[in-house]
């Protein structure tokens, strides 16, 4: 009975003989291999490479000049690390759209709202500070298309 099955007319018919064979296995495997090769190709060049963790440098002249106790950004470091982008957007909105150019932090310290004049005054080492993490996580903020980073000036000053 197992070799027979009921056809559409109600009668029994022989099961068609289909050879148990995987057709074109070679080509399928080859195609799959090429497909997976393409999929993982972007990962291959970096496989096994150890990328150094970013280490933003804080040893600019402006920061070193400050006393150890005063070496404090506009907000606490953990906050800045996590939220500097949001803070900068808030500063931008405040300065450009509302004309509010003074930032008062929770300790009551006052800062001018300005990327080039406040942030980059201390962090005058863009390649050693900003770019370290930004390159590591492959983000390209477009601040520097317009805002001047003041790095060159400082580099020249340091060489004197």
């Amino acid at each position: 009975m197992e070799d027979k099955y009921r056809n559409e007319f109600g009668g029994f018919a022989e099961k068609p003989k289909v050879p148990k064979k995987f057709y074109d296995l070679k080509y399928i495997l080859l195609g799959l291999a090429i497909f997976f090769g393409l999929v993982i190709s972007p990962i291959l060049p970096n496989l096994g490479k150890i990328v150094a963790a970013p280490s933003p440098k804080l040893d600019t002249p402006a920061i070193l000049k400050l006393a150890e106790k005063e070496r404090q950004c506009v907000m606490p470091t953990p906050y800045m690390r996590a939220n500097h982008m949001q803070l900068l957007i808030d500063w931008r909105e405040a300065a450009v759209r509302n004309g509010n150019r003074e930032f008062i932090n929770p300790e009551g310290k006052k800062f001018t709202v300005s990327l080039s004049n406040t942030c980059m005054e201390c962090h005058s080492n863009k390649t050693q500070f900003c770019d370290q993490c930004h390159n590591f996580v492959a983000v390209t903020p477009n601040c520097w298309g317009c805002h001047l980073d003041k790095e060159q000036k400082v580099a020249q000053g340091g060489a004197k």
């Binding site: 450009v96 759209r97 004309g99 150019r101 003074e102 929770p106 317009c146 001047l148 003041k150």
Partner: protein, 270 residues
């Protein structure tokens, strides 16, 4: 746990009070732990309606040059005729095409079209009028901007937010004073001496005079007004004792194309 109605109302009232006043109560307990604030600087110059009066009786061509040069310098306005790298020189036609204008000069006929007289004072006809964004009360550029990159501030300044500009140039088509310029090219190679405290612009945004809002915020008068040695007056139109009102009340002034209804706020004493 059983609870009668009276106790329930007491508890609900107390928790509502705590919920409403909880944050301030916490701040009272820990003074100094307030949130960060963004405010205007105390030294900032403020007004109800900023306006400018250009006294053409005092403004000779040299002073006008000084004003434009001062503006160019503090706003990093590129000079396409003067690249840093001589290899980047461009043709005279492109110099005109790509020119970035914040404050510039033009003769009477070009400054006040529609007001030309067949016979008029030769001196006035040949005067080089100092032109800039008129910071209109009814700015057509603001109305057409699809991203609100240009907007009118409460104090009348028509501002540019370069971060939002998508370079569609609707505002340039709308402005009847040609006060807006588009960055067809990256301006940085054409800025000989960068002013570090002000950003440059990028390729693909529109820029114009902003009445030096960044200087006003720091308590300084606009750069052109400082450089003009008294030929330009800048002040609050709503303040009857201000310099601009004094000049407007005692002199006959003209404005550029007032018949268009944009209500320009730069006045000229001829």
């Amino acid at each position: 746990m059983g609870m009668d109605r009276r106790d329930f109302i007491k508890l609900a009232g107390l928790s509502t009070l705590l919920g409403l006043g909880g944050n301030s109560a916490l701040e009272l307990l820990r003074p100094g732990q307030v949130a960060a604030a963004l405010e205007a600087k105390p030294e900032a110059l403020t007004a109800k309606r900023w306006a400018m009066v250009v006294d053409m009786r005092q403004l000779d061509e040299q002073t006008a040059q000084k004003c434009t040069a001062a503006c160019r310098q503090v706003h990093n306005v590129p000079d396409f005729g003067n690249p840093i790298d001589p290899a980047m020189k461009i043709s005279d036609a492109d110099k005109v095409r790509w020119e970035i204008k914040w404050i510039w000069t033009a003769p009477y006929d070009n400054a006040f079209p529609g007001d030309e007289q067949e016979y008029m004072d030769e001196k006035v006809k040949d005067l080089k009028f100092l032109l800039l964004c008129n910071h209109c009360d009814n700015p057509p550029c603001v109305r057409v901007c699809p991203t609100k990159a240009t907007f009118r501030r409460e104090d009348g300044i028509v501002m540019m937010d370069m971060h939002r500009c998508i370079g569609c140039r609707f505002c340039m088509a709308a402005c009847p004073f040609s006060a807006r310029s588009f960055n067809w090219k990256d301006p940085r190679p054409y800025i000989k001496k960068e002013f570090p405290d002000y950003p440059t612009r990028e390729i693909g945004v529109v820029e114009k005079c902003t009445f030096c809002n960044e200087r006003l915020a720091n308590g300084l008068m606009p750069a052109c007004v400082v450089a003009s040695q008294g030929a330009l007056a800048f002040g609050d139109l709503r303040d009857p004792k201000s310099k601009v009102r004094e000049l407007l009340d005692s002199n006959f002034t003209i404005r550029r194309k007032p018949f268009l209804g944009t209500n320009p706020q730069v006045y000229y004493i001829v």
